[in-house]
Symmetry: C2
Subunit: 229 residues, 2 copies
């Protein structure tokens, strides 16, 4: 389980104090499907980065299997992240000098158990799953915005993570491609027990989650699920 | 009027030939409101860049007031772009080392008629219009994804353009903020006669345009407008 316990985060810019997170509680277990919505600037990306152990809270704890992350040494935390978590960033963070395939292979470079050919195969399989097998050798600047977004998604999947953290993964995708992607994510959950935390502005997608939250004034409020017909 | 006449564009990557545009015709007049939809990777951003004179077609023409753009010298074309067009990029292209306000002011630096204080005032007014007056001194990395997107929009407005070219301007915005933005764009059209070309994956937004197109196999197909009740 991955947990946030009364997590708070603030930023200071000049003499301005911004407090996007003011006491966030959240627990993620296997096969969970959580969506988080909220206004632009409310703190969703900040929350996801802390949940993904890429940023630290100013107060409160992040717990992995009950252990306080701040007591885990950097090497172990880094290993946990690369093996357990798949992160899709709102701004993708692809490396412009590498092909789509090399970008997707990158997390596997830290996986000593895989031969080079096997790494390539797995990266190609992930690209195929997001419909981009025929764009494998393109560099990010030779790809459309939505194609770059899908490469970022493929990269998050390549290490077969237990927990997928997705920061607005369909923002640059047409409805059909976005729906295909979410279908595929659903399948990962059913078949591999992957847990999914989805930050999104798409209300349709948010509703498909099993648990929905809205980030309001730095705290998560549960969103009532509409009855499925 | 800004026109595309049988515009074609192709890219070569290795031995692969990609032809996103294969004969695009489009005419934009004052106060027009055109939306363009289509699958991820279909060629919408490519089309918008050519329309905005930021890229050149391989065949066909781009016409400004009936004049072939390829016969206009670089200086005149650059002046036309900065005075007439406002471009919001899918990936924002903000400068990370400058504050939001300096980013928005940037197009005004080429406007010799404005005093420094007046430039600052105008930039602040544009930031206020997208709800970011209180983030003026933040640098892009201190802003959320949707805030960066709004800074890009403010920058496109600062020179009071005649034609606004928007590449998925609401992809990182919650529905309420996105709606506010489109309301404001509508107002610009009504009050200032600004023409708007909107590339979007949001079907709701696309429907609000007066003319809708879908990019299919490198050509624009008109989308029938649903009857308003
Ligand atoms: N490094 C930083 N320094 C200062 N302020 C920051 C920093 N990062 C984020 N912020 C501020 O914290 C707030 C939350 O940012 P965050 O990126 O988490 O929002 P968000 O909910 O993801 O928004 P969006 O939906 O637009 O992506 C914003 O108001 C932003 O200006
Ligand atoms: N510089 C380039 N070199 C090679 N191919 C390119 C280049 N730029 C774009 N492409 C290809 O051209 C096609 C159209 O790209 P474009 O960015 O116009 O798509 P789009 O419709 O804007 O997609 P999205 O909705 O995902 O933003 C894509 O298949 C892309 O891979
Ligand atoms: Mg965000
Ligand atoms: Mg695009």
């Amino acid at each position: 389980a991955l947990e946030l316990c009364q997590v708070a985060k603030r930023f200071r810019v000049g003499d301005q104090l911004i407090e996007p997170l003011r006491g966030v509680d959240l627990a993620i277990h296997d096969r969970d499907y959580v969506s988080i919505i909220g206004p632009s600037g409310s703190g969703k990306s900040t929350l996801l980065h802390i949940l993904g152990c890429l940023d630290q809270p100013d107060s409160g704890q992040v717990l992995i299997g009950g252990n306080d992350v701040s007591r885990i040494d950097d090497a172990a935390l880094s290993a946990f992240r690369s093996r357990t978590l798949g992160f899709v960033f709102q701004k993708f963070h692809l490396l412009d000098r590498m092909s789509a395939r090399r970008n997707v292979e990158l997390p596997l470079d830290y996986n000593p158990g895989l031969e080079r050919a096997a790494r390539r195969d797995r990266a190609m399989a992930c690209l195929a799953q997001v419909g981009l097998a025929d764009r494998a050798e393109h560099r990010p600047l030779q790809l459309s915005g939505g194609q770059q977004q899908r490469v970022a998604i493929a990269r998050a999947l390549v290490n077969e993570p237990r927990i997928l953290l997705l920061d607005e993964p369909t923002g640059n995708l047409d409805p059909a491609t976005g729906a295909e992607l979410m279908e595929f994510i659903d399948q990962l959950r059913r078949e591999a027990g992957v847990a999914v935390v989805l930050v999104t502005h798409d209300m349709e997608m948010a509703r498909r989650a099993e648990r929905g939250y809205r980030l309001v004034d730095g705290r998560l409020e549960p969103v009532a699920r509409t009855v499925r017909t």
